[in-house]
């Protein structure tokens, strides 16, 4: 019960007016992108139209959703938005507990958002592309974007805790764009190593470059690293 209230407390900060506004704007923009893609790419066979719709929409979703995720994470760990920690640790709530519930709240918000985006994608497909049928690769692709967004958000978390600057969220976002563009070309050993730490999707976009277990392991490593750093680093300005 106490844990649920702690999450409720995090959500009241995470879902601030500015965050909600940004999330809604991003969702509207992506919905417009989906509709535009569905209308513009209605050429040739149904399969061709669906494939083009899939490719164009998913690329855009990945870029914008990673950007949004990194921003939400960065914003939630700024000194101002993290000041309520002071009111909670004085009652025996540990920083570890605070951090893990806060990250869980972010993970939850992002999951709801990717779910909404997936629904919008399917909705626009069904409405605007004749013969559009549901395929499991759509769900897989959105799940891959979600996992990638979580990983880059945790990189953002490392940066904001270290440098205490809101705009650090731009670096992981750029890294994600860079890795996805590198994945298009010929894969050499350098890229293979790079994609372990900075994961991206396979060219078909419905699976990760490496197995899901590698990404989960990376997620765990990043959460533990962030946790250790968060507990150790001073919270100077409230």
């Amino acid at each position: 019960m106490k844990l649920l209230n702690l999450i409720k407390c995090h959500l009241s900060y995470l879902l601030s007016k500015s965050s909600i506004t940004i999330i809604i704007i991003v969702n509207i923009i992506l919905f417009i992108v989906y509709i535009t893609n569905a209308l513009a790419l209605d050429l040739g066979s149904v399969k061709e139209a669906v494939d083009n719709y899939y490719e164009a929409s998913l690329t855009m979703t990945r870029i914008i959703f990673v950007l949004l995720s990194c921003f939400i994470t960065s914003n939630s760990f700024t000194s101002k938005n993290d000041a309520y920690l002071a009111l909670l640790i004085t009652s025996g709530i540990k920083k570890e507990q605070y951090y893990l519930t806060k990250v869980s709240s972010i993970v939850f918000i992002l999951f709801i958002n990717i779910f909404v985006l997936c629904l919008l994608y399917l909705l626009s497909g069904f409405i605007f592309i004749k013969g559009f049928v549901y395929d499991t690769r759509f769900i897989n692709a959105f799940l891959c974007i979600y996992i990638i967004a979580l990983i880059y958000s945790l990189y953002t978390n490392l940066l904001i805790t270290t440098f205490k600057n809101l705009f650090t969220f731009l670096l992981p976002t750029l890294a994600s764009i860079l890795t996805s563009s590198l994945a298009q070309g010929k894969i050499n050993i350098f890229k293979k190593i790079l994609f372990i730490f900075f994961p991206t999707t396979s060219p078909s976009q419905d699976s990760l470059f490496y197995s899901i277990y590698i990404s989960i392991a990376l997620l765990i490593i990043l959460i533990v690293t962030n946790l250790v750093l968060y507990v150790r680093v001073d919270k100077r300005s409230e």
Binding site: A83, L87, I89, T90, E238
Partner: protein, 209 residues
């Protein structure tokens, strides 16, 4: 005064650096339970740093600080309230998370006493009203130690008097109170010890008559 006076906070060779700047250096000091302490000093004298060390918001660079209670109520100098939440809901959630035992009816009673509309969005409140909400979240809990960092910020004279009355009530209950302030004259009737800070050190401690 309570006959069972014990140490509630003990500081031993405490040192805090921000980068290369030494911001706090206290050889030894202890806060005794059931007393009211006023921490006085110019900006950057080390008062707020000491408070952050007490509540474990920051770590000591050297030395130790022992806090012999788990139950601390704290009013920070600056605070950002969440959007989109009623004052009453915010305080109720906070009380449930902290788990000190304050109930929803306690919240409603305190809000009424301080003249705050419980259904009003917390961010629609004035600066003074927000300060009152911060005070309420601290005093509503039955803690052993109360720490206030510039609690009179933004309060009108009547509310300042109300706050002094609150301190008196807490003193009567035998609570330990630490107030960080620039304005010691407001607390003339309530303090037990004046602790002067200068350049990160405790320069003088004066006991009340």
């Amino acid at each position: 005064m309570n006959s069972n006076i014990t140490k509630i906070i003990e500081i031993d060779k405490l040192c805090k650096y921000y980068g290369k700047n030494k911001v706090l250096d206290i050889d030894y000091f202890c806060f005794l339970s059931s007393y009211t302490y006023l921490l006085i000093g110019a900006n950057g004298a080390g008062k707020s740093t000491l408070i952050k060390l007490i509540i474990n918001l920051i770590k000591a660079s050297r030395g130790s600080i022992y806090v012999y209670t788990k139950y601390i109520s704290y009013v920070p100098e600056r605070f950002l309230f969440p959007d989109n939440i009623k004052t009453y809901d915010f305080l109720c959630t906070l009380c449930k998370v902290r788990g000190f035992g304050a109930t929803n009816s306690d919240v409603a009673r305190e809000l009424e006493w301080w003249g705050i509309d419980k259904d009003k969005n917390i961010n629609a409140l004035s600066k003074g009203m927000k300060q009152k909400v911060l005070i309420i979240q601290a005093i509503i809990e039955d803690s052993e130690l109360y720490i206030f960092d510039e609690p009179l910020n933004g309060l009108d004279p009547n509310s300042q008097a109300d706050f002094i009355q609150v301190i008196k009530n807490l003193k009567r209950l035998g609570k330990t109170i630490i107030v960080c302030t620039h304005y010691d004259k407001y607390y003339a009737s309530v303090f037990d010890y004046l602790v002067y800070f200068n350049g990160g050190m405790i320069s003088e401690v004066i006991k009340s008559n």
